[in-house]
Structure formats: structure tokens, C-alpha cells
């Protein structure tokens, strides 16, 4: 992938703190999604963004019910178009290397559908619908949302602020603590137990 790219990859590699192989692999993935738009040469630090439709078709994200929200959470302006830095960011947070607190921050962003910095009842309903593919009845959805807010809401405002969310997620059980889900370039690993 060229040694001159290494210099500009520094920032990307910096995040990964791994060898340049990872950076090259990620760049390869980014490039193959749209070879016409993404240049091979990143020395000039080009301003290229890939649209959301391409990214949510990646095999790692395709089956994820929250794929649109994930991509939107990592994009700079919230519309889902990722530059290469955002792309690397996404993979780094969703890998096993990322600290739990960081994952909690981004998880909160993902579940906050209306981006008002709170997970309110409508956000929960949308989350639930995505999770069960809308196969629960309206009454069941309301019940579950009420239960969730009852369990996690600390300050009693009827919606989850980031502090409530983080407090709750820190108590979620640690299943696959040391299980290594890392494959070669699939950095999207088991996050269900943040």
C-alpha cells in the first residue's frame, strides 16, 4: 500500500497502536467499497467521504439491526457519511481494544435515535422494534419500555441520561471477558457485553 501512505496513516495507526498492516488492511477495505472515489494515495489527506449506503452493506454490519445508527454515530455531522478517519474510529471503538467507557459513550449515541442526548421512550420503542423486527405487540412494547425506564432511570425524569445509561451498563454481566473474537481484518467484535 505504499510507504508514503504510512506517514498519513500515522494518525490512523496512532489510534490502532498496531502495526501498519492493520492500517493498510482497513484502507484496503475502505478503498474496495468505492474504488473510483477513494484514492490509493493518502499523502495529501484528501477529503473523501463514503455514503452511508455503501458502509451499511459491509458484511460485518449487514446483519446488525442498528447498522444505520452505528454509522450515523461515527460520522462527523450525523448524516452517516464516513471519512477514512471516521471509518477507522468506528472499527477501533468496536474492537476488543477499546475501553469500556468509550464503548458506553458510543452505545449511548447509537441508541439515542433523536439525538437529544437522552434515551427517551420513543428511542426505546425504536430500539425494541429494531431488535425484535417489529414482532411485539404495541402493548408489549409499552410494557417493556416502562420496565426499562423503571430499572435504569436514576433521576426520575422518565428518560435515560448518559449517566443513567453508563451506570446501568457498568452492571451488565461480563460474559466473554477474554474470548478473542478478533479475526484478520474483521475488527468488529463482540460488543454485546460492553
Amino acid at each position: 500500500c505504499g510507504s508514503n501512505n504510512l506517514v498519513s496513516f500515522e494518525r490512523a495507526l496512532d489510534k490502532f497502536e498496531c502495526n501498519c498492516m492493520m492500517g493498510c488492511l482497513l484502507h484496503g477495505r475502505y478503498h474496495e467499497m468505492a474504488p473510483n472515489i477513494v484514492p490509493m494515495d493518502y499523502t495529501k489527506d484528501p477529503d473523501v467521504k463514503l455514503p452511508i449506503q455503501l458502509i451499511i452493506n459491509m458484511p460485518e454490519l449487514k446483519e446488525n439491526p442498528f447498522k444505520e445508527r452505528i454509522v450515523e454515530a461515527f460520522s462527523e455531522d450525523g448524516d452517516g457519511n464516513l471519512s477514512f478517519n471516521d471509518f477507522v474510529d468506528m472499527f477501533s471503538v468496536l474492537s476488543e481494544m477499546a475501553p469500556r467507557e468509550l464503548k458506553a459513550i458510543y452505545a449511548f449515541k447509537i441508541y439515542d435515535f433523536n439525538t437529544d442526548n437522552f434515551i427517551c421512550k420513543s428511542d426505546l420503542e425504536k430500539t425494541l422494534n429494531k431488535l425484535t423486527r417489529e414482532e411485539l405487540t404495541a402493548e408489549e412494547i409499552t410494557l417493556v419500555c416502562e420496565k426499562v425506564i423503571e430499572e435504569a432511570d436514576m433521576d426520575g425524569d422518565g428518560k435515560l441520561a448518559f449517566a443513567d445509561f453508563e451506570n446501568m451498563i457498568s452492571k451488565a454481566p461480563d460474559f466473554l471477558r477474554y474470548k478473542n473474537c478478533l479475526k484478520n481484518y474483521q475488527m468488529l467484535t463482540c460488543w454485546s457485553n460492553i
Binding site: N64, K109, N117, M154, D164, F165, C190, I194
Partner: protein, 709 residues
Amino acid sequence: MDMVLSSEVFLPDADNTSPSVTFLQELPSYQSILRRRTSAGGTQDRRQNNHGFARPPAAAKRNFVERAGVKSEAVVRSIREYALNIPEKRKLRDIQEANVKYLSGWDQLKQTRNKSWKKFLDETKELSSYLELWRNDIHSIEGKFGTGIKSYFSFLRFLVLLNFIIFVLMFSFITLPSTISQYGVLNSSYVKVPPKDIEPQCTVYTISGTKGLVYFYTYIIDLLSGTGFLEMTSLFYGYYRIDMVHFSAIKYNLPLAYLLTTLVYLSLSLIWIVKRSVEGFKQSFVREEDPFQSYCNKIFAGWDFCITDPNASRLKHSSLKYELKTDLEEERLRQKKARRTTEEKLRIYCLRIFLNIFVLALLSGCFYSIYRATIYSQENISNVSSKMTFEGNLFVQYLPSIVITLANFIAPLFFSYIIKFEEYSPAFEIRLTLMRCVFVRLANIGVLLFSLGNRIVCANEKCKACGYNYELYPCWESRVGQEMYKLMIFDFIIIFAVAVFVDFPRKLLVTYCSCKPIQWCGLQKFQIPENVLEIVYGQTICWIGTFYSPLLPAIATIKYFIVFYIKKISLMHTCRPSKKSVRASSSNFFFLAVLLIGLILAFIPLGLSMTRIRSSKACGPFVNFNSSWDVVPRTIRGFPTALQKVLNGIASEAFAVPFFMVICLIMFYFIALAGAYKRVVDQLREQLVMESRDKQFLIRKLTEAQKRS
């Protein structure tokens, strides 16, 4: 620190109506969770980064690496366990090695010894995992069908191993000495049991159908029912008519060995099962689910981000949906139960009593039909003549097995139908149906043995001479062994036939025929409880039958070996994954509990026949003894007097009663202790709820105070 970070990472928003509660991160409980995670090899606190990409900068990582390297204790964690990348791990190792020279000589020695010991343990664990039977098969089953079904196959593997060990025991201590002494290998000789003081008619024992011209199909009948030429082989009890085997200088007491090996294999099975179930019990007791956060955990930590396969994702969606629905259902039922009026309670209790009476009636019907079938079959076996056709002969031989299998099939259908009317909670419903099915299956074997026992032992003239019915059953132990052998063979045939003639045609129908009712039935689901009961039933037969047929465990091993492959192929090709997710830990404990019930039920007929019924005078090693158990007192009489006195003392009432009382006291103490712990746990749970409410109240007050200021 965190407030600054939050505002950097989050999108700036205009109106923030309520100020974010930020001091939750300063709570001691949160800090200790963080500290526990950090010390387990997690991450450090971050310093903020210009780009807003919060990642630990190299400096912080370096500090962590250095801190991890300099550990004052001699115990150094394995570098593999730290969540660092390769260059960092290399740095950590260098630091650790550099620090070694600062430790004293003794600490260095301890360190190296610990390290090499850990390495040795890891390597042996890896090696032993390669030796495991069917490791890859079970792994692939787990991947496709989940942990519940995988625990069924691990259970099957455990039974194969158990049966193999029992076979090795019986073969090496009973069959091998008999066979090699009969052929004079190793300078051995044997003393055939001379009949002393026995009525001559008790020793008459002829096996029909082995001499002269016989039809060819007689051999097949003999193979399938253990009669004829098979009866005189080492497969059955009757072959071992040897008293003492002499190996150059050693005298080997075969009857004693026979009895002791039986006791050993029973206790070995008991200990092994109890040991395995204790592990499962511990796991299932510590509830994995947090009762305070079950819904949150399911929604926010329920989806596995590793899923890339569409089938797996569909499965995960439906299993999450099913879990949520079950939770809501249980909540609804709990509320409904709380709202029940006295009238309704009375109605439900009456209904339950009526249905239980119905269950008892059904069970008595089953037992009676098995009893009659056994009597009929035994009567007609004795009258067997060459006039009977091949099929008729086989039918008569296998009649009890057929009736038992039918009863085992029909009764569970009834139970699962009537349980709906009894209105229990879903979890209890499943458990009660299972208990009833277990009872039916195991009691059926008991009824068969009981009806057989009734014919062998009788109160009238026929049995007075020898203590058992010598005309019909000159060698009754072999006959019991034959019945167990037939049950086992038939069970295997049924498993095979169901897989070939029911599962595969169903799959073909569903794949190629598109009419509504068939598509509605769909592919079958792998029913774990029914399959487990099937193999527990087979294992109980094996345990009971091994005393009467020492090579039966070998047949059981081969049978379960083949059943594993039959079930695996049937599962992979004809079953669809179940939407319910079954927890592996509770499954393991349930399987072993049912197996334990089977083992305890196997003790009863064995114990009774070993101590109560006169052993046959015409065959077997116990010809000169009153009962099989008699061998032990006679051997003890041959011991030195001091040892005799001790053993007699242990067996006497003077010892047994106080011993029993002490055991009762100890058990009572542990039960009281467990009750006290349960009360403490409940109190602590209540306290936790109170504390959480207090915390919420205080946070609300603080928030209001913050707002005002």
C-alpha cells in the same frame, strides 16, 4: 473530567433542560467497579485528545505498562491475559524480566516455578482437550443449535465413557479370569462348583434349541432375544459356574469378585454422577440473570455484534423476542395469580386434584397392561415350539418391550395436554411434566421386574424345594438378564427406526410437498427432555442388567456410540433450531438429576434380588450360597478373628444406629444452615432494593438543589 469529555464527544445541542447528573461517576461503587476492571488488565483513564477521538495516548499506555511490570508480589500474571497489542506486550515482558533481578533469590525461584507450573498446566489442558471424544462434532452442534442441545450431546458422551469403564471393570475382574482359566492359560485352573446338599431337581438346566437340526431363523431369534446359543456364552450369568480360580500361587475367589465388582460399578457411577452434578448445581444456583436489570440487559446488551450470518441473526432476533415475551408472560401470570379470588383458588385446586387422579389412573392402566403383557410373554416363551412362526415367536419375546415403548410414548402426550389446565407458571409446568414422564419411564421397568419376580418367587409348592420356581426358571438370573438384553436391543431398534422412518420422511415431505397442513407442521424441533429421558431409560436398563449379564455394558457402549451419530445426523439434516434458548447450566444439572434418579431406582431391584431371592442352583457362581450376598459373610468368616470382630461390630446395630443418628444430626445442621443463609440472602436483597431507592431519592434531591443554585 468526564463532563468535559462528554461535551466533546456528544453533538452540541441547544437546550439542555435538566443539567446532566455527573456525580454518578464519583460514587464509590462505580469507582470500585472501574478499579476491578483495570486491575484485571483493562484500560486506564484517558487523557483527552485534540481530535476528540478518545483513545489512550501512548504516554498513558506506557505508564500502565510500566506499572504492570513492577509488581511487588512474586506472582506475575501471564502476559497473555493483558489486553495490549504485541509491541506493548514485548515492552511489558522486558520490564518484567528487568525487574526480576530486584527480587530476592527465593522470590525469583518462586516466580520461575510458578511460571513453569502454569505453563505445564496450560499445555496439559490443551493436550487433553485434543483427546476428548467428538470434540469437533459437539463444537459444530453448539455453533448451529445452541448450548442446550450441545449439553445433550455432552451428556451422551459422558454415558458412553461411563459404560465403557463399567465394561472394562466387569470384563477384567469377572470375564477374563473365567475365560483364561477355562482355557488353561497362565497355568490357571478352576474348581467347578460341586453341588452339595442340593435337591437334584434344582440343578437340571437344559437350553432348548441348540442341538440337532434347527431352523435357520432360530439363530436370529436367539440373537435378538438372548436365548439358545447365546444363553450359554459369557454374555449371561449362567456361564460363570466357577468357584475358585488358581493362578500359580494366587487363589481368586470368583463369586466374591462378581459381587464386589457389581457394588464397585454402582458406587463408581454414583460418585461420578454426583461429582458432575455438583458442578452443574453450583452454576445453576448462582443466577446468571440480574433480577434488578433483566430488561435493560436484554435490550442494551442482548445483541451479539459478531453475528454476520443471516440465519444466525434471524435466530438471535427470534430468541430475543421469545425471551422478552416469556418474561412479560411470567409477569402477567404473576399479577394474575396475585389477583386470584378464593373462589378461583378453590376451583383451581379441585381441578388439579381431579387431574392428578386422572394421571394416577392412567399410570395404573399402563402398569397393569405391562404386568399382563409380561405374564403372557413368559407363559408363551416356556411353551415355545417349532410350531410357532418366526414373527409370532419374536412378537412373544418382545411383547413386554413393545408395551413399555407404547406406554412411554402415549403417557407424555397426555401429560403435556393436561398440564395446560392446571395453570401453573411456565417454568413449573415444564418441570412437572418432566417429572411425571421420568416417573412413568422408570416405573415401567420396575413393573416389568416386579411381574417377573412374582413368577420366579412363589409361595406355593412349586418353589418350596429350591426357593424359586425351578421348573420354569432353572437359571432365573439369566432369564432376567435376557429380558434386560431384549429391552436394550428393542430400545436401540426404536431409536434407529424413528430416525429413519419418521424424521427423514418428514423432512422430505416438508421439502417437496407444499400443502398447508404439512407446512404448518414443519420440520421437527429437537426435543431435549424426551431425548434425555430416552437415554436415561436405556442407562437404567444397563445398570440393572449388568449384574445378570456382565457384558451388557459393552453392548450399551456400542449402542450409545451409534446413537450419537444417528442423533447427530438426524439433528443436522431434519431439525430446525428452536426459538427458545435453553440455559446450558440448568440443563446439565437436570440431566444428571434424572440420571441419578434412574441409578437409585436401579439399586432397588438389584438389592432385593441379591439379598432376598435364592440364587439359582443350576448355574452361576452362587450355587453354594443362599443368596448372592451370602458370599460376603462367608468370606468374613475366613478372616482373622480380630478383623472379624471389627467387621461384625460395624455391621451390628450397636454401631449402625448411633452412626445413623449422627448422620441425621449433621444433615439437619446443614439444612438449618442453608435455611439461615437463604433468609440472609433475602434480607440482603430487600436491603439492596431499599438502598437503590434511597440513592434515587438523594439524586433527585441533589438535582433539584443544583437546579435551584
